[in-house]
Amino acid sequence: MGFVDLIYGKYRIVSVVGMGKNAGKTVVLNKIIEEAYERYISLGLTSIGRDGEREDLVTKTDKPVIHVMEGTIVATAQDILLNSDARLEILEVTDYRTTMGPVVICRVKENGLVELAGPGNNEEIREVAKKMLIYGADIVVVDGAINRKTSASPGVTEATILATGAVVSRSMDRVIEETAYQIELFGLRAVQEEKVRSFAKEVIQESCVGIVDQGDGVRKLPLKTALSAGRIIGSALTENSRYIIFSGSLVKKTIEDLIAVTPYYKEVKFVVQDGTKIFIPREDWIRFKKRGVQIQTLEPLHVLAVSINPYAPQGYEFPALEFLRKMKNALGLPVIDVMLEGDDFHDALYG
């Protein structure tokens, strides 16, 4: 069973998110491309851009370079498209700006390599994905990132493939625990109250921190992010406070500082955009939960499958079959070994 079997007919827009570099995200992308090509399924590809970075930083960050097939729809930044190896027909120049020019939607005319650098916020990704469907893609795959620097979230897609592997830790059990923890974060309860949801969207839009008090509106604190602001937020809580909305990422230090200065945090739910915005080590998460910290999200991520890579670039590896079996048992989700199945696909393609 391949990724496309899991996606096709059920979801139209999916994201691929990797647990760190070299977890095999690009391999997953390439595999989806091959599977789709084999089955005559037309793909649309883009990535979540990194907003607010200077161009030199953007061009240095590793955008996935993928080999695309004729007929594939691709959304990427203008400067990248003009220098790409694949031959691309321009379908639409969107109004969505990146530091490398507007995002342009193209159709691949001749196979080749292309880099993906899509728009940097949710609304734009959603629009670009929809446009690619209109231009004929059967499935749109968004290369997502667990990244503190982007305001965009894989939550805009219908389902997510999580790429994990030996790179996460030398201990197989540890990798499995970390992966399960990541999935737990992705699946955190969504905020239910409509009013709070709309406050949260507002706060995220304005990239500040908001406190929702019982019976009142939202108090916006003039902090750009909550990175080192735990104490300020903590002091702003009252016994009537019910929610704290974080527009950026939520880190361990913020929670530690916050619960050190106020007893009211137990009555409060911490709200983040989605599970990719939480950067708390698993041990601390367990500790925080015991102390009564509750986190909710605006957009829970639905993990449809997990890909594993038993080889680490550091030079060690796990017994592939054992790793696969244990991961499957622990997660209760479809798990695909990108390296194992690579052979089978190879046979299908070249054999």
Partner: protein, 558 residues
Amino acid sequence: MMRFMDKKTFQEIGLREILDWVPTQTDYGKELKSKLVPYGTSQVQALRRSFEELRKFRKGLKSSDYFLWNLKGYLSEIKDIKGSLERVMKNEVLNEVEFFEIKNQIMVMEELRDFFMQHPEVALEKFALASVAPLIRALDPDKSRVKTFYIYDSYSEALWNIREEKRTIDGKIMEADKKLRREIYETTGLKPKLNNEILVPKEKKEAIASLKESRLVFFLSETFKSYVFKVSPTEEMKDLREKMQNLKIREEEEEYGIRVKLSQRVRDFNDEIQKNIQILGELDFSIGKILLGDEIHGVEPRIVKDPYIKIREGRHSLVEQRLRKEGKAYIPIDVTLEKGVTLITGANMGGKTITLKLIALITSMAQLGLYVPAREATIGPVSFIYFSSGDEQSQEKGLSTFGGEIYHLKKITDEKKEHGLVLIDELARGTNPKEGYAISRGVIEHFTTLEGISVVTTHFDGLSGIKDLRHLQVVGLRNMDPDKLKKELELAGQGIGVLEKYMDYRLEERDPEEEVPKEAIMIARLMGLREDILSRAEEIMEIENHEPPRSKENKEGE
């Protein structure tokens, strides 16, 4: 615009905001709007023609439910391509995205051209677009009629050949790769992965030995548990890949040559495209003017020669909108102004300031070719408009209210021959009443010698007696029974709402000699000022009435 009115006037009379109300869809329309210049006193014919055209266009546009929708659809596809045209005129070579945008735009131009041919109702002469069909053919060599762009194979035989060869070699590389992998599998029993690596656990000694012997792979690295080998490409494959690289370079060179030629083609059509861009802007802005007219329930003003303003049921759209939001009705104003000076007197809170702004707004809108918020308007263009709100504060020059006013007056009074429209709210109120009166008298007497139209509001008595002066008065509360008002106020408990309800903002022509109405004490009373203060004020008035005229009210009164 700045020669016609200064920034402060532009802002204060509400024209800046009204222009924001003119919707434009394209950058071209926006640009046209931002560079808008009023028709001058010598351009009466041109201004009339502009209104005639707009009338014709409006009639056409309203004749079908679809026209507006259709035209807006075309305009929604328009992006600014002036940058690319500039580049092409500097002999620079455009890139694929630029060709895409130009192709898109000229295709829209051609579609719009067809649309105008099919619908003469909306096809003004000035909307006659130039044909760009030959350029479309150049950018759409396969006649696909699709608004996408690609350096198509059909651009040159050389390109076609290069790409054909690329495809052949690509096939050969795949073939060779397949063969090599099969051979490795057959000789070693191992399959290379997608990245061409073969990973063997160290315990598989036999396999390692065969890999080490094989000339098809080479040893890459060693990890804790395994060895990594990599497929070594055959001479044939190396050769093919090199050929592929060379082909890609040749392809890029060929594509560049095609882009040079296409850029040249675009250059040949620069005049036509520029003309069409102008038309797109005009079309966009014309639609904007009509939509603004609908929004403010505007009418086309009649344009006459020489400074003249006649407004029937004029409304200040910004005030009207505010009142509508508060659920209140706006009372329209009639006013006629001719060359010379008109004095407006009347009650505090009688809307004199708004009336001045309305006169300025309607006159300027008419001269900009916009529909005006009135039932009827006749406008003779003026050469400039100046509005003084009487509370000038020129911060950077460090002038007080009075200083600011005088600073501007100095400039205005020097422009004797100009057919300007000068509107001054409470002339010289920022200084002591005695001198204020004297200066006002001097200024107004000077204004009567000017060629343009001047309107001055004042609380000073005795100014209306100046020769050649018209005197208009706000009806105010004059026709109201004070006792009835008082009762109403007692019921309401709060003054301003009741005052607004009964205040008659209309203007009446009065005898020039007639005194400024004395309603300030009454209004103060209606608004609930302490009775002991008011009776004292009435006592003082009794005495003052035997003395020569001067300002009756506290200058901070309004």
